[in-house]
Assembly symmetry: C2
Homo-oligomer: 137 residues x 2
């Protein structure tokens, strides 16, 4: 053992609003000591790691060089994409392959890109015929 | 349960070289099917989540809006910082507080910022007298 990932930090403008969006993504509660206007907010998603939202003055300028790839636990990829669009995500790109594998690129309310992969059940039921479940971009 | 974090993706120029650096950070082996020149490389750090390195044409332009905060498992923060500087990290900033809490900001060989926090043992032995173990920037 050397270093482990303690948490992922996300720079943003509105820590409380963005943590609220991601709390719905992960279906995990806000921390009781997080309030509007705070310079930080923390979430503890099931399975981890912790996600820390940090208020910064600068805006998002370019495509994020780090992003999260999400796997739905109890929905299909497409059901989860629809749910996330309904709570404030926007669609950035669609990398669904002809065999049904692949992923969808969404952005959170501050424009941070993330991907929604197929669920484990979908992969097991219909393995990709190409490298369609690995996010290459 | 809704979505969980399946992996963290990091855009880069040289997937094999960067995965090599991070394999030493996490003390986890390369995947046997990752080779120089590949467009992707994957690591499976102990404790998770997976980290996927993706080759992109564009270079890093601004401070990353997402970053990882690391916790040393079997070294102190300062010992781990020295180890990471020795394997190719560079020092970006020092947020160590007068009470010894706080963190150090490093960058990987492609300039991606990450922080090294105090170990769990250090925190237990000497709790912060301020919010010194939370990474605010």
């Amino acid at each position: 053992m050397s270093s482990t990932i303690h948490n992922i930090s996300i720079d943003c403008h509105d820590t409380y609003a963005l943590a609220g969006f991601w709390s719905q993504v992960f279906d995990c509660p806000r921390q009781p000591d997080d309030f509007p206007g705070d310079t930080e907010a923390m979430l503890l998603p099931p399975g981890g790691p912790e996600v820390l939202f940090i208020a910064v003055p600068e805006g998002k300028a370019v495509k994020n060089r780090l992003h999260l790839d999400l796997q739905p636990a109890d929905r299909t990829r497409d059901e989860e994409v629809e749910r996330l669009l309904g709570i404030g995500a926007t669609r950035v790109d669609d990398q669904i392959r002809p065999d049904g594998s692949g992923w969808v690129v969404l952005a959170d309310p501050e424009g941070n890109e993330f991907c929604v992969l197929r669920s484990a059940a979908e992969r097991a039921a219909s393995p990709a015929t190409s490298a369609g479940d690995v996010d290459p971009a």
